[in-house]
């Protein structure tokens, strides 16, 4: 006697044991989100259940990829006023409150991702059961979009798992795996696939007691405890985020401290707080950037015969890290280098990466077995090249070497293998000069560190086969990275826009401004790391080489100071001294007070560095290095760390006003010369 009601997004089945199985399959996509319509249907379903209470309710996903990814972000962008946002939040809160009030046992069966609103829904259930699988991930990532949980997350989470852990999850936005979730009490059980449904029935039949906080955690939300915890937590977040740039963590902490999860009006206050945040520029920009990233991810279309084997030629930092990353993501990878110590180092680094990213020793061993050191030197490109579906060349940036390597690869590779160079600057056509089929070659330009930088520039020319580009997109999706399609021109997008900014920082240094003041200014603007520190980490020799190469195309001048340091062998962190000195991994200011030190305000420094970046970004837009201004923005944010809450260089320029930008550039041009000459592109933007 089972009955089945099918909604557009939900399916409700009451089985013979009178358990109601609520299965969500979001109709408008392949990933569950709590769109308005989904919520409306849920409200109807709950009302129906209340009329004839079942023995138990199970909420599960009809998709294998995950439970629920969160709210529908597009809908939030449409909420233009705090009032509209407040109402939408209260609407969701009330549905979850209804769910919580159901008197029979309710179980959330969690597979894959269970994020944001999805977790808040699960929190309104009596029990949460997570699938024992590495893909299971729970979290409240709202903070990364400039808001905080608004469907009861800030209330139910601290009450369930205690304030310290709840605050950590809310303020960091990080996701945790099933085992960690069990340990902190976020889920009641972690079960293997074969027991998944039985576990739900077990919890409904036996109704074990709910998770209870033990020890001091039971008191961690008490009124007199909150100020103490908040005090220390405040200190921690202040180290990571500036409250002007990122107000959300501060608002979330304040909400918890001043209202508290047990307050009568806790939910109303939560909704109020989020509705204030969501209409602020930070949230708007962060959400926009998030959606732009989604756009990049969608470039990859479904393809026949997805690649299985990857071969990397060259196991320097980039080649080795790309190899390790691909192996981590499940590919069988062969990595070739003529230098055995380089390969040895690659394996060591890979082991460190796997140990950090994978939960069990067995998984680490699997990953290690997938990463094969190719030592067959007879052809000069390794034996793995013959059977690889994707071949990435990451040898040093020497044209002759690259040309030689590619000639051999083309002769040895499978005819349908994807051929990609990881060059950071050399135009494709030049590398492909001696190939039989130059259109096969494209660029896949990873950023350092590969494991942290998800953006990858996919470089093509007008001649490049469209099919190769599509396969590159697909490959990147399979390794959890996303592509920024760029035209092959010196420096592509990210390095080209970033270099003038670094050069301007070096110019300031040459004028006698201290390194830490320059870095501080950049951070004040919102860059995650100062330019001087960044140059030291990249290596001043590398910076100089890139700058000289680009300067030859774009007619830039390079501050002499950079050459002086490189000539003196002060190459940055790797040599122990660059613009800073390094002692046991810690950096120290080199105490030089220049006699001609100028007095310059922080804002003036910011203007000089950022305006050069904006100007170059505009040039890239004008030259159509990427398809549109949005791609310039997302490229610079994910490729260089450009202050994300400012929405990217083009967006920032628009917000500032194009005329003001041009005005500033003109002023700087008068004072410092033609490197600030406004780009011709501004003209068409200001229309």
């Amino acid at each position: 006697m089972s009955e089945n009601i099918v909604y557009k997004n939900w399916q409700v089945e009451r089985d013979a044991k009178d358990i109601a199985w609520l299965t969500l399959r979001y109709a408008e996509g392949t990933t569950n989100v709590l769109a308005y319509e989904v919520m409306l249907e849920l409200r109807t379903i709950i009302e129906t259940l209340l009329q004839q209470m079942p023995k138990g309710v199970v909420i599960q996903s009809g998709y294998d990829n995950g439970f629920i990814a969160g709210a529908n972000i597009h809908e939030f962008l449409e909420l233009k006023t705090p009032q509209a946002a407040y109402e939408r939040l209260r609407f969701g809160q009330e549905i979850f409150a209804q769910l919580e009030k159901i008197t029979c046992p309710t179980v959330a069966l969690i597979n894959g991702f269970c994020m944001g609103g999805g977790l808040e829904l699960a929190l309104a259930c009596r029990y949460r059961i997570a699938l024992d699988d590495p893909k299971t991930r729970l979290g409240v990532p709202e903070i990364l979009l400039g808001i905080h949980p608004g469907w009861g997350g800030t209330v139910r989470l601290p009450l369930l798992i205690g304030a310290p852990t709840a605050l950590d999850l809310i303020l960091s936005g990080r996701g945790i795996n099933a085992k960690s979730a069990k340990r902190i009490g976020l889920v009641d059980a972690v079960v293997p696939k074969r027991e998944f449904f039985r576990a739900a029935e077990y919890y409904i039949a036996r109704q074990p007691s709910k998770h209870k906080l033990r020890g001091w955690l039971a008191w961690s939300n008490a009124k007199w405890v909150r100020p103490i915890v908040a005090h220390f937590t405040h200190r921690q977040i202040a180290q990571k985020a500036n409250s002007e740039h990122y107000p959300a963590p501060y608002a979330a902490l304040k909400l918890w401290e001043q209202v508290g999860p047990s307050a009568q009006d806790a939910f109303e206050k939560e909704a109020e707080s989020v509705s204030q945040l969501v209409t602020r520029p930070t949230a708007e920009n962060l959400i926009r950037v998030y959606l732009l990233q989604e756009r990049l991810k969608k470039f990859a279309k479904r393809q026949e015969n997805p690649p299985k084997r990857v071969h990397i030629v060259g196991s320097g930092t980039m080649g080795g890290d790309i190899a390790a990353w691909c192996a981590l993501q499940g590919f069988q990878v062969t990595v070739y280098d003529q230098s055995l110590p380089m390969l040895a180092n690659t394996r060591k680094r890979a082991y460190a990466l796997f140990s950090k990213k994978l939960a069990t020793k067995v998984e680490v061993n699997y990953a290690l077995d997938r990463l094969i050191m190719d030592t067959w030197a007879d052809t000069g490109v390794g034996a793995g090249v013959r059977t690889a579906d994707v071949i990435i060349e990451a040898v040093p940036e020497k044209l002759e070497l690259k040309q030689k390597v590619w000639k051999i690869i083309e002769e040895t590779a499978k005819p349908d293998a994807l051929l990609a160079t990881n060059t950071s600057s050399i135009p494709l056509a030049t590398i492909a000069e001696h190939l039989k089929q130059p259109p096969r070659l494209l660029g896949i330009h990873f950023f350092n560190p590969v494991a942290a930088m998800q953006l990858v520039e996919v470089v093509s020319t007008a001649q490049t086969e469209e099919n190769s580009v599509q396969r590159a997109f697909q490959f990147l999706k399979m390794i959890n990275h996303f592509p920024l399609p760029v035209q092959s021109s010196p420096g592509f997008l990210v390095n080209r826009v970033l270099t003038p900014y670094l050069l301007e920082a070096a110019a300031l240094l040459a004028e006698g401004v201290s390194a830490s003041n320059i870095d501080q200014a950049a951070k004040q603007f919102g860059m995650p790391m100062g330019p001087i520190e960044m140059a030291d980490i990249v290596g001043l020799d590398v910076c100089l080489a890139v700058a000289e190469y680009l300067a030859s195309y774009y007619n830039w001048s390079i501050p002499e100071i950079l050459r002086t340091y490189v000539a003196a062998g002060k190459l940055g962190r790797k040599t122990g001294e660059g613009f800073y000195k390094y002692n046991q991994g810690k950096k120290h200011e080199v105490g030089v007070s220049s006699p001609n030190a100028v007095n310059i305000t922080e804002n003036a420094m910011i203007d000089r560095m950022i305006m050069r970046m904006l100007n170059e970004a505009c040039a890239c837009w004008r030259e159509k290095i990427v398809a549109d201004a949005d791609l310039v923005d997302v490229g610079m944010i994910y490729g260089s760390g450009f202050a994300p809450f400012r929405g990217g260089p083009m967006h920032y320029a628009q917000n500032l006003g194009i005329e003001i930008v041009v005005q500033k550039l003109r002023g700087l041009q008068e004072q410092y010369g033609d490197r600030f000459k406004p780009d011709a592109g501004w003209l068409s933007l200001s229309d």
Binding site: A344, K348, A383, T387
Partner: protein, 433 residues
């Protein structure tokens, strides 16, 4: 023209093979388990094959002391190498000849038509040999588990003896013969006494082993070695037990290890404890045609022999004699020899035995001597005294290396043979084709 008789009905070919560098056991746990070693060199070997790893009909691995986590180590290696779930894999154990047993088993299955393409070989991480506790302690632990209350536990506590905690190094136990109660080194002393092998002769053979291996390393003829990498950023490229600084004088100063102070067998004229793996790809004619495989050598015949465990070092003599009889070949037909240098005494003893009328008659049942194996055709690129003897791997190393020696030096027939703890000998005849 020799008329040759074989004991394999379908021809079996060695297509390719590789091994790890052999790594000296330094006392600490080595960087690789037996599985790791075989997987590392196997990955390299498979990388250059024209067929996928899943094309094997089976995988057979010899290993003497796998760790407790390596039950049926052959299957673990096969799966980790990506041969796939559908390829069956098994493990063989015939002490020091386990690697040769794996090759023999593979060859037999190919010859009768059960298999066409087999990955065979051996691996041993002697540094990972398990450390055990005495039986008395195991019994005590059993009682402890059953003890129900405090009084019973207290009673057991008083029964605990310090001697219970004395670890048993399984490796050393393994190198003792349980039937005759002798260590392997002592059986070598037996052989030395029987054939009057002198300390000088043993040390000369040991020195030659090091010198030959050093020359081979300099000449880059050990092409079957694939570099392996640990997790701490080290690359291992060559056998690291070889000594460039050794001399007859230095070898002469070493104390007898097994029969002090009277014996002659020292650490210097015995094989070294090592970690290593060696693999070969064996194929039928059909597989060779199907994948257009190159041929390194053909396996002509294999012979096994048994003898007094107290003289197990003479195993090669017994196996060689049997193999030559089986194939109707003479010592003079064989161009190159690989006799495993478990102990210099036993290598020299085996050579003497084959040339000793009395031994040939009484032990081998022959009317005439088998013949004198020329020393300049023996272990021409070094042996286990220089590179080590990772028990399970040795048989595969000898066979593979002999194939390379025949190719490089344009010989036709070669025999690889070894003594086997417990009183056996194994020998394989291969032909350069």
């Amino acid at each position: 023209m020799v008329s040759i008789k074989e004991n394999l009905s379908r021809p079996v070919y060695i297509v390719d093979g590789s091994r790890t560098p052999f790594l000296k056991v330094t006392g600490a746990l080595g960087p690789f388990t037996a599985t790791d070693l075989a997987v590392a060199t196997g990955q390299s070997l498979l990388l250059r094959q024209p067929f996928p790893a899943t094309a094997f009909d089976e995988v057979i691995i010899g290993c003497v002391i796998p760790s407790i986590n390596e039950a049926n180590i052959g299957r673990i290696i096969s799966l980790r190498l990506g041969c796939g779930q559908k390829v069956p894999a098994w493990t063989v154990q015939r002490n020091c000849a386990s690697g040769l047993q794996a090759i023999d088993s593979a060859a037999l299955n190919i010859s009768v038509g059960r298999s066409d393409l087999v990955l065979a070989g051996g691996t041993e991480s002697m540094s990972h040999a398990p450390i055990m506790y005495p039986d008395a302690f195991a019994r005590w632990l059993g009682d402890w588990g059953r003890a129900r209350n405090f009084t019973e536990k207290l009673k057991l506590m008083t029964a605990l003896r310090l001697s219970y905690f004395k670890p048993i190094i399984s490796l050393l136990n393994g190198l003792n013969d349980p039937i005759v109660g002798l260590s392997m080194g002592q059986t070598a002393e037996n052989v030395a006494r029987q054939f009057n092998i002198t300390r000088q002769q043993m040390d000369e053979l040991a020195l030659a082993s090091h010198q030959h291996l050093l020359k081979a390393q300099r000449d880059h003829t050990l092409t079957e070695i694939t570099p392996i990498f640990d997790l701490e950023g080290h690359a291992y490229v060559e056998d690291n037990g070889v000594r460039a600084d050794t001399s007859l004088e230095k070898l002469g100063k070493l104390k007898p290890f097994f029969d002090p102070p009277y014996g002659d067998v020292t650490a210097g004229n015995s094989s070294q404890l090592t970690d290593g793996a060696a693999l070969v790809v064996l194929a039928s004619e059909q597989a060779i045609e199907q994948y257009k495989l190159p041929v390194l050598a053909r396996i002509v015949s294999v012979a096994w022999a048994g003898l007094d465990p107290a003289y197990m070092g003479l195993g090669p003599a017994c196996a060689i004699s049997k193999l030559l009889q089986q194939t109707h070949l003479q010592v003079s037909d064989i161009d190159y020899w690989e006799i495993n240098e478990a102990f210099a005494a036993q290598v020299l003893g085996s050579i003497s035995a084959l040339d000793d009328a009395h031994y040939c008659q009484s032990e081998l049942g022959l009317d005439a001597v088998v013949g004198r194996i020329p020393l300049d055709r023996l272990n021409v690129e070094g042996g286990a005294i220089a590179c080590g003897h990772p028990l399970g791997a040795t048989g595969a190393r000898l066979t593979l290396h002999l194939a390379h020696v025949l190719k490089n030096r344009k010989g036709r027939y070669g025999i690889a043979t070894m003594c086997i703890g417990g009183g056996q000998g194994g020998a394989v005849l291969i032909e350069n084709v």
